[in-house]
């Protein structure tokens, strides 16, 4: 168990764990007024100064992971202790021998189950891939490992990423650490819950229509959706290829930024990955103490008008508005922008994502790998394997997508949705020409009860309204906690900050206070500080 000095302090501990699970735990400190420090940097310092050993760190983390797992069910697979400890031991030896260690040495990572790992099952939350072990690591995972990170397990998710609650997993339902009767969001709910409960330091997720950002908001952690193409998709089980991105979860913006830095970059194995240079996000972090009184002076912030109106919970609106006014105090120029096409994003997204998924999921035919049901003939082999292996939400989306791509319907659905996508992309571009970042809530509500929307897919889809547009436009966005629903006893609220795609970043970064959301790291932590004060 960690001593409190080495423990990353929580801004506010998840209530459920404090009261229901962790009431005896000495490690959680009361609400703090300073922002979450970087777990990665804190641990690195402790390791290199030999205040602690990687083995001790691993032991306490695994202990914690296993302790909360029965309540949370955030992992589908946890790496055996001896394997994790062996990696930690090797790291300790390197440190002992004064050998060089990787930038992510001793970082314990959770990986969403749709990201391939060669030593662990990768099921994407689906029965059809039950026990499937890929023969290769996803590029993002390979990079993390090369930098010394230790993968502790695979996190739960909605089957193939199709869902917003993680209830769509074929295996288990994950609980929200802040209230165990609530969903953690989805589809990367396992990763968000695990980081929120500190079962791992950081986690990888994937974001096709908000699957990193919405659970980050629901679980009160930082979630980062990079620009499309920033991170290689090689090894990410495809849901909708033109929208999918691997994203990062951390308990601080710094951790999310460091993680992004590690996994970004062009990859020979992904033709859609970008050759755009990867800036060292971490080097641009400015420690709080060195900041002037108006550190964000000159930053143009546009609040998206359409995201604070009808259908959005008033508590969410007021949390976001107070965060915005704080940004203003920090020197930002705040204005309201209108994106009239905003509401078109949801239907366009569901048509495009379903269409692509109907194609991407064709490979699960039971022939080469995965769940297979024997049949008298080929057709029944296909049919039965898929009928048994795929869940109902997945089948529904495959049917919708197949319909949308069928002859005679293509123009009315798929093609039209692509046209809407272009309109949305252009309207974001216009808004980002005039503003450095755009702001909206991450979700129209806080985390809701498990089972609440399970039988109402349209209500669940509607919850994605805040996030899907960003995927359609391929832009980067950061979600971070900005308040609580119903006061400090309530559920976390997340604010979403949308930046320009990396292509524009260089033009704009002449200013040190770059508009790129994750460069603001420590700066944005002010938002949280103020929230807890108020």
């Amino acid at each position: 168990m960690l001593s409190s000095a080495e423990t990353p302090r929580l801004l506010r501990s998840p209530a459920a764990l404090t009261f229901k699970c962790l009431h005896t735990s000495p490690i959680l400190t009361p609400a703090s007024t300073s922002p979450s420090p970087s777990q990665i940097l804190t641990n690195r310092k402790a390791l290199l100064s030999r205040q602690t050993s990687a083995v001790d760190l691993a032991k306490s983390l695994l202990h914690r992971l296993r302790r909360y797992e029965p309540q949370l069910s955030s992992f589908l697979y946890v790496s055996p202790d001896d394997i994790v400890l062996k990696q930690a031991e090797e790291l300790d030896n390197r440190i002992k021998n004064n050998e060089e260690v990787g930038p992510l040495a001793g970082v314990f990572v959770g990986v969403k189950d749709n990201i391939c790992t060669r030593d662990m099952p990768s099921t994407a939350g689906s029965r059809i891939l039950e026990n499937y072990r890929p023969p290769f690591d996803a590029t993002a995972v390979r990079k993390l490992r090369e930098m010394g990170a230790i993968v502790v397990g695979k996190t739960n998710m909605d089957e193939f990423g199709m869902g917003s609650t993680t209830e769509g997993s074929a295996y288990q339902v994950t609980a929200n650490p802040w209230d165990l009767s609530r969903v953690p969001g989805g589809s990367s709910g396992g990763s968000a819950a695990a980081v929120s409960a500190r079962q791992c330091m950081v986690a990888l997720g994937s974001d096709t229509g908000g699957s990193v950002r919405q659970p980050a908001s629901f679980c009160g952690v930082v979630g980062l959706k990079p620009t499309y193409g920033r991170v290689s998709r090689y090894g990410l089980v495809a849901y909708a290829s033109s929208l999918d991105v691997i994203g990062c979860f951390g308990s601080s913006v710094a951790d999310a930024g460091i993680l992004l830095n590690a996994i970004s970059g062009f990859d020979n194995f992904d033709a859609t990955s970008s050759k755009q240079e990867v800036p060292d996000y971490a080097s641009q972090f400015v420690p709080l103490d060195y900041m002037e009184s108006k550190p964000l002076k000159g930053l143009r912030v546009g609040v998206i008008h359409e995201t604070l109106g009808n259908g959005v919970d008033s508590e969410v609106v007021s949390s976001v508005r107070s965060a915005v006014s704080h940004l203003e105090e920090l020197g930002c120029t705040v204005s309201e922008v209108s994106l009239p096409s905003f509401s078109l994003g949801l239907p366009a997204y569901y048509i495009l994502a379903s269409s692509e998924s109907s194609s991407n999921l064709s490979r699960y035919d039971g022939v080469r790998y995965g769940n297979q049901v024997f049949g008298e003939e080929l057709k029944s082999l296909y049919g039965d394997s898929r009928a048994e292996g795929l869940g109902s939400e997945v089948k529904m989306r495959i049917l919708m997508g197949t319909y949308a791509l069928s002859a005679g319907y293509y123009d009315a659905y798929y093609k039209r949705a692509q046209q809407v996508r272009t309109i949305i992309r252009n309207s974001f571009k216009d808004a980002l020409d005039k503003n450095d970042i755009l702001i909206s809530p991450a979700a129209p509500s806080v985390a809701y009860k498990i089972g609440e929307k399970k039988n109402d897919p349209l209500a669940m889809y509607a919850g994605d309204i805040m996030t899907v547009n960003v995927n359609l436009a391929g832009l980067p966005a950061l979600v971070l906690p900005c308040g609580f629903d119903g006061g400090s006893a309530g559920m976390p609220v997340g604010i979403q900050m949308i930046g320009a795609a990396f292509d524009e970043q260089h033009n704009l970064s002449r200013d040190v206070r770059s508009p790129c959301p994750w460069v603001l790291v420590e700066n944005l932590s002010f938002v949280r500080e103020r929230v807890t004060e108020s």
Binding site: R118, P135, S241, S362, R368, Y369, L381, L405
Partner: protein
């Protein structure tokens, strides 16, 4: 890579109902029958086209004849999370072929997914080009062989597009067939063949659904070009000649070895027939499994006959839209699968690959680097005064043409050079099963030989051939005895000197020695222990 993969995937990864697994004993059946020398050549050329969507970062080169599923990687297996990557070499090949076929190139084309379920299609879709092919609207000039009546034809080319190959279904035994078609005089009908000639894409399959089949994914994901012709051919011979010209073209361009046996060049044909006086063509029927030019020709003639017969019996309604398989053994076509209505492939743009954008500069660089193409060569040789038979022979093989060009570059008489190459040298190559690159005679030596004949150093009239081994042996002995220094050099490893000795012997015999016999005896003597 492949081995890692096999270990990595759980044990039923290649299973296909009913309980199919990769059985090694079936493998031999499908292996290469070519010699070592040819195999080496194939590999070189395949590397060029195999590139594959998976492959700029390639870790699984395609080798024809490799054991099933030993040349596979996550990409061609369609494993979750694997992504296709396009090799720029494929685009270069496509541009070359497009230019050589006089097509208009699309400066901006894209890839699409063609979706259907089939065991040889690992991803459930094939990456292809749908509405915007990289090249379209061209033509191919063909000179028909003299024995088929000769003449020049221009066949339209509808489009050239890039796509990936599927895997291969290997079947364990042949289905049995009972269909009989009697010979039928079809002269009473005028017919027209719609011949869509396509490079590659043939699935080996058997009409008998009852037995086990195996899936070999070695070639899945290998990039290929599909070339679709206009329905301009009228006979099986015309279609086969068109095919042969395409093969020549891809070999000249160096984009493929064009080997039909290996499936490097594959051909599907669509045929429709119309009775005399009818304006519209009948239902078109597709024929697959055409593994040689002669099967292209015979299958088409057979299918014309079959359709014509049905027309004449008033059973034209039995000509349905279907895919038929040419059975070499039976010399007939058989129904492989009937197409129920129009297949909906649900094409949509491939999101995993960026669009293909060509610059004018890129295209003109490739245009400038194109070799002299068969048609241009034929016209040039024709203008030199060679007859069409000679022209067709020389141009048929790019290496023979190059040998000829090098020979006449030494100043040799055009007609004599052609005669030598088509006569003695071709006979020798044929007997010894050698290609022109393998023979020891160089174009320079042939040039000198021809010059010697012309200026009378040796008898210009190559008279009666000396075919008596003992007589040739005597001359060989004499030549070897007169050139001890060269003999020593030869035995020291300078085997190229064989040509020198052959030349000396020819000189001695005034060119009358039977070349095959001469070389046989000469080699024996040269390689004999001193």
């Amino acid at each position: 890579m492949a081995l890692t993969l096999l270990r990595g995937i759980h044990s039923n990864c290649f299973r296909l109902y009913p309980a199919v697994y990769v059985a090694r004993k079936h493998v031999r059946h499908f292996r290469v029958r070519s010699s070592q020398g040819q195999t080496a050549m194939q590999e070189k050329q395949q590397t060029q086209l195999k590139a594959s969507p998976k492959s700029e970062s390639a870790n699984c080169p395609y080798n024809y004849g490799a054991h099933p599923n030993t040349s596979v990687c996550p990409v061609c297996m369609g494993l979750p999370g694997a992504l296709p990557v396009l090799n720029s070499k494929v685009i270069e090949s496509a541009v070359k072929v497009g230019l050589a076929l006089n097509c208009k190139l699309s400066l901006s084309s894209k890839f699409d997914r063609k979706q259907y379920f089939y065991p040889d299609l690992p991803k459930g879709y094939q990456i292809s080009q749908f509405d915007i092919p990289i090249a379209a609207g061209g033509y191919l000039d063909v000179d028909l062989p003299v024995e088929f009546g000769g003449g020049h034809r221009k066949f339209g080319v509808t489009r050239v597009h890039m796509e990936e190959d599927a895997g291969k279904l290997l079947h364990t035994d042949n289905g049995s067939f009972s269909q009989e078609i009697k010979t039928f005089p079809y002269s009473s009908l005028s017919y027209q063949i719609y011949c869509a000639f396509i490079i590659t894409f043939t699935v080996l399959f058997t009409p008998n659904q009852d037995h086990h089949f195996h899936v070999d994914l070695n070639r899945a994901g290998v990039p290929l070009l599909e070339i679709v012709s206009e329905p301009d051919m009228r006979t099986g011979t015309e279609a086969a000649e068109y095919a042969a010209e395409l093969q020549r073209l891809v070999r000249y361009l160096g984009v493929s070895n064009g080997n039909m046996q290996e499936g490097s060049l594959r051909c599907d044909v669509n045929i429709s027939v119309r009775p005399h006086g009818q304006e519209e063509f009948g239902t078109k029927v597709e024929i697959k499994n055409l593994n040689s030019f002669s099967s292209v020709s015979r299958a088409i003639d057979y299918e014309i006959l079959r359709q014509a017969q049905l027309h004449s019996q008033g059973q034209a309604d039995q000509i349905v839209q279907e895919t038929r398989l040419w059975e070499e053994g039976a010399q007939k076509t058989f129904t492989m699968r009937k197409k129920e209505g129009l297949a909906d492939y649900r094409y949509f743009p491939e999101p995993d690959l960026p669009g293909v954008n060509l610059s004018e500069e890129y295209i003109s660089n490739i245009r400038d680097s194109l070799p002299e193409l068969p048609e241009t060569k034929r016209r040039r040789y024709e203008n030199m005064g060679l007859n069409m038979q000679d022209v067709l022979f020389l141009v048929n093989d790019i290496n023979v043409a190059a040998f000829f060009d090098a020979t006449i570059a030494t100043g040799a008489d055009v007609k004599l050079a052609a005669n030598w190459i088509m006569g003695d040298i071709a006979a020798y190559m044929n007997n010894e099963k050698l290609s022109i690159d393998d023979i020891k005679l160089t174009p320079q030596e042939l040039g000198e030989l021809i010059a010697s004949i012309k200026d009378g150093t040796i008898n210009g009239k190559i008279g009666k051939e000396i075919a008596d081994p003992s007589e040739i042996e005597k001359i060989v002995d004499k030549v070897l005895a007169n050139n001890p220094k060269q003999l020593e050099q030869y035995r020291g490893g300078k085997t190229k000197l064989q040509g020198f000795f052959a030349g000396q012997i020819m000189k001695e015999t005034k060119g009358k020695a039977n070349p095959a016999l001469l070389n046989k005896i000469l080699l024996e003597k040269l390689n004999a222990k001193p």
